[in-house]
Amino acid sequence: MQDVVLALLTKEPSHGYDLRRRLVAALGPLGETLNAGQIYVTLTRLEKAGLVVQEREDAPLRGPRRKVYALTAAGQERVAAWMTEGVGPRADVPEFHLKLVAAAESGMAEPLALVEARRRELRRSLAEAQHAVLTHGTDSEAGLLLEGVALRLQADLRWLEACERTWSARAPHGKGGGNG
């Protein structure tokens, strides 16, 4: 959650309400469960950690002046590290999705490069799992678990293909719309 909020601030300083709106836009129904309170708690924690600072919003056209949060230099660094670090074989789909969204919004990383790195990571994990499957067979308890692990990694790889299609179609300069 902290990383995601930080990532959303890379585009421009924002207030809590706007951050929530953007999160919901990126997550769809999965984001509806998120309440504004969670965002504000997170922002407060990030502020204490020195990763964001409050700025005074320029005079708004209408309505009250709201608290606007901006990244500090330390916050910038943390986002950059989060976006490009390997997420590990167990990482969940929403988190990686948000990395892609944040990467595209902020311009701090190329979504397709993240997809490629993630695919390498998953391929290596799948190779390991699949070798273990072949060694153990699927009629043992251990083999059954390994089969589940391999199927799960395979599903993640399939989803990455969809990510690749969508993000390459959106890439401003890349190879557009390439699908097999």
Binding site: R90, R124, E128, H131, V149, Q154, G180
Partner: protein, 264 residues
Amino acid sequence: MTTRGGRWGRGQTRRGDTGDESAGPVLRAVGLSRVYGQGVSTVVAVDGVDLDIPVGQTLAVTGPSGCGKSTLLQLLGGLDRPDEGEVWLGGQRIDLLGERALARLRRRAVGFVHQDFHLMDELTAAENVELPALLAGDSPRTARRRAAALLDRVGLADRGRHLPSQLSGGQRQRVAVARALVNEPLVVLADEPTGNLDTAATHDVLRLFADLRATGQTLVLVTHDERVAATADRVVSLRDGASAEDIPLAAGGSQLGALLGWEE
């Protein structure tokens, strides 16, 4: 087993006695392109692929359907000819060979494994395996002996007299692998070899491929199944006929602990 005249040796001997190409890749594609159709209906199936496959490597070619992976395999095996580029097999350029020379080379140097097995229904398992050896000029006795040894190797020593219709899908595919090996090919090319198999049979075939790798057999397999590709030494992904990714799958470096979440 001794190396027979005009044939390729196996394993270590192959590396030693192939002369000028011994240091290079056994299979090589340079700027390979294949275009189907004309005018507005032109489809570029393979688009400028470069590939070096060293002796003993298991390479998986993967990608969505229609990405050109089967066409690439046919070009590599001399079943189709490129519109541009070169194919080198065992140090010899094959895309310029005449039909007969190419057919002869294919028979000896390339073993094919297909998704739907392509066994002859009216021949027994053993006869199916013997056939390419006979076509390559082996005596019936030699062909029989080699077929028996290979059926044993693929775990079907007691099924030699069965017709394909009396075998399961997995067994049929193992017969097809034995047949692909009978002329001691430089490379085995497999197109979706597990595409028609259930999980258990898929695992049998993949274990068989792992055994082949252990003997130094070079293997190229085309698959859309990432779990099958994961058993290779290296994965090349095609997109729109071009190589989009080429990654080695190094053994070791365990991530399985991370999968269980016991790291944090």
